[in-house]
């Protein structure tokens, strides 16, 4: 799956999904190769468990195989669609786990340091993906730690602002402001990425 001709995850061709709609197994295989590392990384970040991340990825790709016809380019790039689907299903599992009384997520002090722990090159990504990872990583680390934490608790742990406020023992307004400011700054910093067509 890791070949020199591998396409960047951030720029998966929508035509690939169109081929999958027609039952093209080769296209489905390519889609997996282009996206599985990122989706697995995301699933593991949310669930914190390899076995559960494996199961989640199976669910996601099978759902893509069955429902790929519902993909609409007007609503986002293929990878944005896959990320949204993966995150949503992972948060579902997280909540189901919470209902069962199991441990939810990583400890708080590990959340911020978990992302962008390694900015060095990875053998599983293209140069374009690596550059994007560094750009996003730098943008996130440039935020104040409190803003990073609030955004990650919402995005990766699926917590609402009320839940975050209770968890951090902070006023609700403070939490909202942290998320708004953080997202706003990321928007300004990363706008170049989607204007170049990487995502959006």
């Amino acid at each position: 799956m890791d070949t020199p001709t591998r396409r960047a995850t951030s720029s998966i061709d929508p035509a690939l999904l169109a081929s999958i709609v027609k039952g093209d197994q080769q296209a489905f295989s390519q889609l997996y190769d282009h996206s599985s590392t990122l989706l697995y990384t995301l699933a593991f970040r949310i669930l914190g468990d390899r076995e559960e991340a494996d199961e989640l990825l199976q669910d996601v790709y099978l759902e893509v195989w069955r429902k790929v016809a519902r993909y609409d380019l007007g609503r986002g790039t293929p990878i944005a669609w896959l990320i949204t689907l993966t995150r949503s299903r992972a948060i579902d599992r997280l909540r189901a786990r919470a209902v069962r009384g199991q441990t939810a997520t990583m400890p708080l002090d590990a959340t911020v340091s978990s992302r962008v722990a390694d900015l060095g090159p990875s053998p599983f990504e293209t140069q374009a993906d690596q550059e994007l990872r560094i750009a996003v990583g730098n943008a996130i680390t440039s935020l104040p730690a409190a803003q990073q934490q609030a955004i990650e608790l919402a995005y990766y742990d699926g917590l609402s602002h009320n839940e975050i406020a209770a968890k951090l023992n902070q006023p609700l307004g403070t939490v909202k402001t942290r998320i708004k400011l953080g997202m706003s700054k990321l928007r300004e910093t990363l706008r170049r990425c989607w204007e170049q067509g990487d995502l959006g």
Binding site: T37, C193, L199
Partner: protein
């Protein structure tokens, strides 16, 4: 929620941090067609989609791909069966995008024992189906009503904002009108002052003219006295005016004669003195009047033909003068050559 509050909720929505009620309110607002919130949401969702790119990559197990490919090739019903019950579905960041992924219906498969019991449970199933349909419709209607209520609230907030803006504009318009009226009054006041100043200026001009008018003869007389070519003719008094005298000066540059008379008797009513230049025949130079108590008088007249004239005389004539002397002579003199 006001539009400002909804707008501020967009980044929280994209990050997945909104509660269900807030999420629904924002979605209703988006459905109402707010372009600015749409654009902002698109960008914030792009930000959210970029976040996983910042994570340290972790490769999926190699066996996973073949597992997925194999599962995909199985009977679709079985494939569905592989999907675990997701429990409480998450629809953020936003049902907006996740409309693509409606909650997965639980997989259904009919086994033979179940098929045997179909006839007996048919009525119960139908009843359940209708109840479920009804409940679903009610839920959908409730959701629509909530969305409409949120949209209505949003529109009401917009109307309230517009009314407030209108009120502010009315107030500023009224202030402007008062200001304009004040300026108009100032202009009227200034015009009035200008007219007063013009009257004063006119008055000053008249005074200046009067002063100038009085000054000119004096200046001319001073010039005349310094003029070396000036001619002088002494006029002697006749018996009619004993004690009177007269001097006549002529300035060849200005061609004016100056008659200075002293001690002439007061003119009776309806009469005036008339100065005559006498060459072949008398020619009137001008008339003047001596009032009661007036001791001296200066008469200045233009006289181009002075050089031809030998004699000069002053007679008392009816007011306004006569073409030829008709009254008694009071002063008379002759030029010396």
């Amino acid at each position: 929620m006001t539009h400002e509050e909804l707008e501020e909720a967009v980044p929280l929505y994209a990050a997945g941090a909104l509660d269900r009620v807030e999420r629904q309110a924002l979605e209703a607002h988006l459905l109402s067609g707010c372009q600015s919130c749409h654009s902002a949401l698109k960008e914030y969702q792009s930000v959210a989609s970029l976040l996983p790119f910042g994570l340290s990559p972790k490769q999926a197990p190699r066996a996973l791909k073949s597992k997925i490919m194999a599962a995909r090739n199985q009977d679709p019903m079985t494939v569905d069966g592989l999907l675990k019950d997701p429990g409480r579905r998450s629809l953020e960041p936003g049902e907006w995008m996740n409309h693509l992924f409606p909650p997965i219906a639980p997989a259904r498969s009919l086994s033979l024992p179940w098929a045997i019991g179909v006839a007996t449970v048919l009525l119960v199933s139908l009843g359940g189906y209708f109840a479920w349909t009804y409940t679903t419709r009610v839920s959908e209607d409730t959701l629509k009503i909530q969305q409409l209520e949120a949209a209505l609230q949003d529109q009401s907030a917009k109307i309230a904002n517009l009314k407030r803006d209108l009120g502010l504009r009315d107030r500023s318009m009224a202030e402007l009108q008062v200001d304009v009226q004040r300026k108009m009054n100032d202009v009227i006041e200034l015009k009035s002052q200008l007219m007063e100043r013009e009257v004063e200026l006119e008055s000053t001009r008249e005074q200046l003219t009067a002063v100038t008018r009085g000054k000119v003869p004096q200046d001319e007389f001073a010039t005349l006295l310094r003029q070396p070519d000036a001619k002088v003719v002494t006029l002697a008094a006749s018996d009619m005016a004993k004690g009177a005298s007269g001097v006549l000066l002529y300035n060849p540059v200005t061609q004016k004669v100056w008659l200075y008379s002293a001690n002439l008797p007061e003119c009776p009513a309806g009469t005036a003195y008339q100065l005559w230049a006498i060459d072949q025949k008398p020619v009137s130079i001008g008339t003047f009047h001596i009032d009661a108590g007036e001791m001296a008088h200066l008469l200045v007249k233009r006289m181009p033909d002075f050089e031809k004239t030998r004699k000069f005389a002053v007679s008392l004539e009816p007011a306004g003068g006569r073409p030829q002397p008709s009254g008694p002579i009071y002063l008379a003199g002759q030029r010396a050559f």
